[in-house]
Every structure is written in C-alpha cells, then in structure tokens.
C-alpha cells in the first residue's frame, strides 16, 4: 500500500468525526481545568468529576425517563461536587491535590458500589429504556459541502463543548467577571484589595469546572453510548488536564489541543486497519506530544529569561562603557 493511499484511507470524514467525538469529553474536562487554573486553583479532580457526571447522567436519564434531563442532572451533580470541593478547600484548607486524589478514588470506587447496591449490577450497567442523545443536524451548516458533514450531525454535548470554548473565551477576556477571575489567578491580593470576592470566584470556577467535566462524562455515558462501566472515563480526565496545559489554559487553545488528542486517538484506532503499525505505538503520540508541549512551554519561559538577561547585560555594559568614556572627553 503506498503512502498516498494510506493517507486517503486514514484521513476520512469518518475518522475526523470520530476524532471530534473522542475529543469532546477531553475538551470539556480541559476547559474545566483551564478555568480553574485561570483563577489560580489546581483542579486535579477532573477525572473524578467526569466519572461522576457519566454516572449521574445515566442514572438520572433512567429514573427520569429523559436523556436531556439526565444531562442536566449530570451538570448539576458535577456542580455539586465542585461546590463540595470548594467548601472543603476554602473552609478546611485541605490541600487541593490531596483533596482531588481522595475525591477521584472515592468516586471511582463508590460509583461501582452504588451500581451494585442499588441496581444489583456488577461494574457495568445500562437499561434498554435509556435513549442515547440524538444527533442534531444544523440547518444551514449541513448544506455546505465538506464542512457540513464534518461539523453537523453531532449531539448537543459536542456543540456545547465548542460553544463552551468560545463562551469561556468571551467570559474570560471580554467580561467583567472573567477579568476578575484572571485577576484572582494572577495576583490574588490585588483582587482582594479592590473588593473582588476571591472566595466567590474560586467557588464559581470549581462549580463550573465540575459542571463542564460532568458534562464530558455525560457525553461518554449517554451521549456516545448508553451504559456505565467502572472507570469508564479511562484516564480521559487526566488527558484533559494535559490538554489544558498544552493549550496554555486558553479556551480556544484548549479546544484545539482537545481536538488534537481526540484525533490522535481516532487515528490510532484507524491506522491499524490500514497499516501494520501497532496501535500501542500510536497511542504514545498524544502523551509524547503533551510532554513535548510542556517542555516547549518551559523552554520558552527559560529562553525569554535568558534573552532578557542577555539584553540587559549588553545594555548595561554599553551604559557603563558610555559613563567610563565621558570623563575622558
């Protein structure tokens, strides 16, 4: 098989759509992490929040008989976890990392516990009555030749993830509240002294990140499938953290890094039906990319420092030379 053929077989509409789907929970989780980081809060509980959202969505969809309601409940549940997180963090000064690790462990284990105790299901549960979220065609968009089939016909959570990226961008950079969030993240005492309620900002971002991550989880359990299995997030929450850092915690950057991670996954799956490359090797790709991104971001910072220092030395030495010359004149 020659290379041109391979690339044609690999980069198909379906693979891109698959990448978009795989990216959705990552983007949502990453937005959650990014907004927290912008307010100076390191939220490593994205994985747990996402898993909890997946769980809440399917249980609520079942109990309420409506998948959209299930999604709403998942968002609320995620927000609740975020609020709990914020309360414990702000009130009892628990270290955020420890809190997140404990929360992740708790959710991973207790969702399975509940499935067993309440539904008598073992680690995996679904019910035929649960409907998957429908795909929505966007009226005008779906007419456009290439873009239409690519961008239209996804479910509401996919669109929400895109919308959320842009919305968060606008909120962060073009609204008052967003500016306050960034001020809190960059210089908390500056925000405090102008009367910004720092605690409120932190509570808000934690709740919002809970909502976003849980929505990502809901995508997995009722948007993409209609079932819940233990650990069904499978590390996507951590991937989201990586994607957020890779995207420099900028909502639009996050959208693209999330898509990159999703595509990498989709290509890894597709590649092996077309070539002989072992999939496990392809799956290194997003991780290595993330690591490289971290290194590059770090290197950029170092380089800037170094350049600034060099410029300083040059300038200062010139100044000194100038003052030394003056008296000689």
């Amino acid at each position: 098989m020659n290379e041109i053929q391979i690339s044609q077989d690999i980069i198909t509409l379906a693979v891109i759509r698959s990448g978009i789907r795989l990216a959705t929970p990552i983007i949502l989780g990453a937005l959650g992490f990014a907004i927290c980081s912008r307010a100076g809060v390191l939220n490593f509980a994205i994985e747990g929040m996402m898993l909890f959202g997946a769980f809440a969505a399917i249980v609520a969809a079942f109990l309420l008989g409506n998948t959209y309601l299930g999604v709403v409940v998942a968002i609320l549940a995620g927000g609740l976890i975020g609020a709990f997180f914020a309360a414990v963090y702000l009130k009892y000064r628990v270290d955020l990392v420890i809190l997140a690790l404990a929360l992740n462990l708790f959710i991973a284990e207790m969702t399975v516990f509940f499935l067993r105790v309440v539904f008598g299901a073992f680690g995996s549960w679904s019910d035929p009555s649960i409907q998957q979220l429908p795909e929505i065609n966007i009226p005008l968009l779906d007419q456009i030749p290439i873009l239409g089939p690519l961008l239209s016909g996804h479910n509401i959570i996919v669109y929400t993830s895109w919308f959320a990226s842009f919305a968060l961008y606008v909120v962060l950079f073009h609204t008052r509240f967003g500016r306050h969030i960034r001020a809190v993240g960059e210089n908390q005492s500056a925000a405090e002294t102008v009367g910004i309620d720092v605690a409120r900002v932190k509570i808000f971002v934690l709740i919002l990140s809970g909502c976003l991550a849980a929505l990502g989880g809901a995508f997995l359990s009722v948007g993409h499938l209609t079932l819940f299995t233990r650990d069904m997030t499978g590390g996507r929450g951590w991937l989201a953290v990586t994607a957020s850092l890779f995207g420099l915690n900028h909502p639009i950057g996050v959208l693209f890094t999330g898509l990159f991670f999703g595509f990498a996954d989709a290509f890894a799956v597709r590649l092996q039906t077309v070539t002989d490359i072992p999939p496990s090797l392809v799956q290194f790709l997003p991780n290595v990319a993330a690591l490289v991104a971290l290194v590059l971001v770090g290197a950029r910072g170092k380089l800037r420092e170094e350049l600034a220092r060099r410029r300083f030395r040059q300038r200062a030495q010139q100044e000194v030379a100038a003052t030394v010359v003056t008296p000689a004149e």
Partner: protein
C-alpha cells in the same frame, strides 16, 4: 470633626506572635496630610490594613466623620471612600493600566467590556488629576514610579476621599518622590485626606500637616508638624533621647577581604539593579552601605553571597575570585551572612534549633563523619549559640517557631558568627528588633570587627550606619553616590546623597 478616628485598635498575630497594634488611637482631620511614622515593624501597615478592611482588629473602634463604622472587607472601605496604595503594589502585571485602575469597577455594556471606553475613562481621570499615564500600557512593563501612579489613580477612580499611602517613597527616585509630594499637596487642596506612612522624617516636614508616631505597636503621640522638629520626632520614634552610639576602638584596617569590581547585576524584570559598582572591605573594619531601600541593596548582597547570578564584574574573597562560585564554597572560605529576611531565608521555622544552627556549617568535618551527622557536636554548637547569645527560652532539639523575633535574630547571629568568619555580610541586622536586642547585635558586630573580621553592613537606618561604620558608602540607584570615612560623615550629608546626588554641587 476628624475624618478618621481610630480608637483602642489592638491586633495580635498568632502566627508570628507579634502584638502589632496595642490599643492604638489615631485621629486624622478632614483634608489634612497626615504622616504616620515609626520604625520597621512598628505596626503602621497593620493599622492601615485595619482601616482598609484587610485585617480584622481584635479590638477597637473606627469612626469616619463621627459615624462608627465596621470595615470587615476592602469593599466596605472603598464604599466608605477609603483608598489605599500598598507598600507592595497590588497590581495585576499582565493587565493594562486601564484594566488595573478599573479592576472591580469596570464599565460594561451588557456585561461586556469595551477597551476603548476603559482607556477613555482612565485618560479622563489622569487628566483631571494631572497624573499622566498611558492607559493601554501593560503594567508589568512600567517603572515602579509609574506603577505607583497607577495605584494612586486606582484609588482616585474609586472616589477615595481618604487616601492611604504606605511608604510611597521607599521605592521612588528623588524626582519621582518630589512629583509625588506635589500630587499629595494637590489632592489635599481638593479636600482629600491623605494618610502617608514613612520612615523618613524629612519627608514629614516637607509634605505633612500632622504627624503621628508609632513604636513597637503603640501610638507614641500625634502633633502638628509645625509644632515639632526632626529631633523630637526621632526621639519619639526610637524611644530615647540619645541616638545610638557604640563604643569602639579606632579602626585598624588589615588586608583586603572582600573586593568588588565593576559589578553588574540585573534586578527582577531586567532593570539595572547594580551598575558598575566597585569597593572593598578590609579585615577589621565595618563598611556601611547607606541608602533608601530599593536602590540595589538586596541585589548587591545576593550577588556577593551567591544567591543571585552576577551579570558582569568580579567579586574576590581574600584574593580568590568567587564571582560565580556556589554559596557553599563561599561559606567554606569564611563568609557569613545575616540576611534581611530572617524568617524565610535566615531560618527554617519548621524544624528545630539544631538543624537551624548547622545549616551553614554542616559540611565541616567537625559536624559529620563519612556523611553521617555528628549530632552530639551539632547539639554542642546549639548550646553554644544559646548561651553565648543568650537566646531566651530556646533549647537544643526543640523547634524554634515559638521564639520571639529578637531571639530568632540571635539564633541567626550566633550561627553566622560561630565559625569565626572572615567576612560578615549583615543586611538590615536589627530590623524589627527592640532596643535591647539592637544593642546586642551592634555589640556583636563590633566585637567581630575587633577580632579582625571584615564586616559589610547594609542598613536603611542611618543611625545604625553612623554608629557602626568605619567607612560609609552611599548606594543610590545601583551606584555608589559617595564615600565617607566615619568621622567625616554627617547625617545631613548622607541624607542628601541618599536622596540622589543633588548634593555633589553642595559638597564641592
């Protein structure tokens, strides 16, 4: 009726075990420029933080124009028309001038911000008060003076009628300071009340109507500036008539111990902190570096002690070049360092006395064998420090976190002087100490000098410099603005040089 009336304000910091304000009363009249003076750690900032709602007092009442108020939060202070420019600026570096000034009170249309509106609003404000700034400039890239201007505008934008300035001149150049005084006077003329914290009594005379003096958490007194003079204020501040003097033998300088040539050091953000600086310190002499803080003292000390990289020039210790040597090697060659920040740099408050006294000497063969620490010897050293430096209530093996500030400084001194160092760098060695402790520190430094150590003393306290130094260098904007032998120097001359070289004409 006074614009601000604070009564019986008391604040105890459990974390540092400091009674920062002890039943303090303060009364500030409407439209007056009120100077609040006192030594480092006297409790001035704490008192103003309480007025601004940043710190909650344990006790005490506040009245504004006669009405009792509760100020639990800066929001409330702002609402009541109080604005504060902090000692450490509270600015968001990546935001523009306009964004910082309008932070928290941004004009918005449908919740959306408009950069042009913001810039226009700030421009208008700046013009109104005659404080020109570029609203679109990024604050992190501005000079300190401009940053301060942003802070003042920030308070004015919030329609502050009572403006608190916490040591506004500490970081300013003389020109900037003079501009600031003009601004302050203008504001007072418009009916604004200004509370102005400073250590510098000359500034009080230059700009203030009324002065209140604090010492060690207490309010010592308040007077109209017209009715007082430098001397009286100084006495109130320091707490006794006679300024500090130390008996010391005439200087017998020996060989050159520390030699600094053409030193060049960048400060944070890449501005020039130390520029083409050369001097030396000989054995058996104390060289004092005088200067307003922020003129490169920190960078100079860090460069000599190895805590910060050097960008040009050379540093020699006993003829060995140490310019780029690691800290440990410098210490092995006999350098001792009394750091300005004793809580964070000088000590590890999370561990015990033994581990604190050994940090600069743990590599010496006396205290370790084949990589195993000799705990008996370390304990002996701790005992020595406790007894020689009479560190009250400290015992080997016990945590030091509960020691008082003076005793903590004694631990630092004891450690640094224990190894008979050849060079002692003492940076603000008496900051925050009571008079007894100050005398002790001074005595110790002079004794070390008499034993033949070279001492480099960096202090913002002129009295301390004058009392201890055999030779005085004045540091101004990273350069040496003048050098004096002890006897020649007067406080006035030093003060002039410290304020920025205007004096050279007068001196000549």
């Amino acid at each position: 009726m006074p614009a601000v009336e604070m009564q019986g304000i008391t604040k105890y910091f459990a974390s540092s075990q400091v009674l920062a304000n002890d039943a303090v009363d303060l009364s500030v009249g409407q439209g007056e420029v009120h100077a609040l003076v006192g030594e480092n750690g006297a409790g001035k900032t704490t008192l103003m933080n309480i007025l601004f709602g940043l710190t909650r007092p344990d006790r005490g009442t506040i009245r504004l124009n006669g009405t009792p108020v509760q100020i639990p939060h800066p929001n409330e202070a702002i609402r009541l028309g109080i604005g504060m420019v902090h000692q450490h600026f509270k600015l968001v570096p990546s935001f523009t001038v306009a964004q910082n000034i309008l932070l928290g009170i941004e004009p918005s249309r449908y919740g959306l911000l408009d950069q042009r509106d913001e810039n226009a609003a700030v421009k208008k404000l700046a013009d109104e008060f005659g404080l020109p700034v570029d609203p679109a400039a990024v604050v992190g890239e501005l000079s300190v003076g401009l940053q301060q201007r942003v802070e003042i505008l920030k308070a004015l934008q919030r329609e502050a009628r009572i403006l608190i300035l916490d040591e506004p001149t500490a970081v300013l150049t003389p020109q900037e300071a003079r501009e600031l005084f003009t601004v302050i006077r203008d504001l007072a003329k418009r009916g604004q009340t200004v509370i102005f914290i400073t250590h510098k009594l000359l500034e009080v005379i230059e700009v203030a109507d009324q002065v209140s003096v604090m010492r060690a958490g207490r309010m010592i007194g308040s007077k109209p500036v017209r009715e007082t003079n430098l001397k009286e204020m100084a006495r109130m501040m320091v707490g006794r008539e006679v300024l500090l003097t130390v008996d010391k033998k005439p200087v017998e300088p020996g060989e050159i111990v520390l030699e600094v040539e053409h030193l060049l050091v960048a400060g944070v953000g890449g501005h020039t902190a130390i520029s083409d600086l050369s001097f030396n310190v000989r054995a058996g002499e104390i060289v004092g570096i005088a200067g307003v803080s922020g003129n490169g003292q920190t960078e100079l000390v860090d460069a000599i002690t190895g805590l910060q990289p050097v960008d040009g020039g050379t540093i020699r210790l006993l003829r060995n070049e140490i310019t780029n040597q690691p800290v440990g090697d410098r210490r092995e060659q006999g350098m001792a360092h009394i750091p300005e920040d004793r809580l964070r740099t000088g000590l590890n408050l999370e561990t015990n006395l033994d581990e604190n006294v050994i940090v600069s000497r743990y590599r010496e063969p006396e205290f370790q064998h084949y990589g195993l620490q000799d705990r008996a010897h370390i304990q002996k050293l701790a005992e020595w420090v406790v007894t020689q430096f009479s560190v009250a209530s400290a015992r080997p093996g016990e945590d030091i976190a509960t020691l008082s500030g003076g005793n903590l400084q004694k631990v630092v001194l004891g450690r640094e002087l224990s190894g008979s160092p050849k060079l002692i760098i003492a940076n603000q060695p008496t900051r925050g100490l009571d008079v007894g402790s100050i005398e002790f520190v001074h005595r110790t430094l002079v004794d070390a000098r008499d034993r033949g150590a070279a001492v480099l003393l960096i202090s913002v306290e002129l009295d301390e410099i004058l009392a201890l130094s055999d030779r005085i260098l004045v540091l101004f904007r990273g350069r040496i603005a003048g050098e004096f032998q002890d006897e020649q120097a007067t406080k006035e001359q030093l003060g002039i040089l410290m304020a920025g070289g205007v004096i050279e004409e007068e001196a000549s």
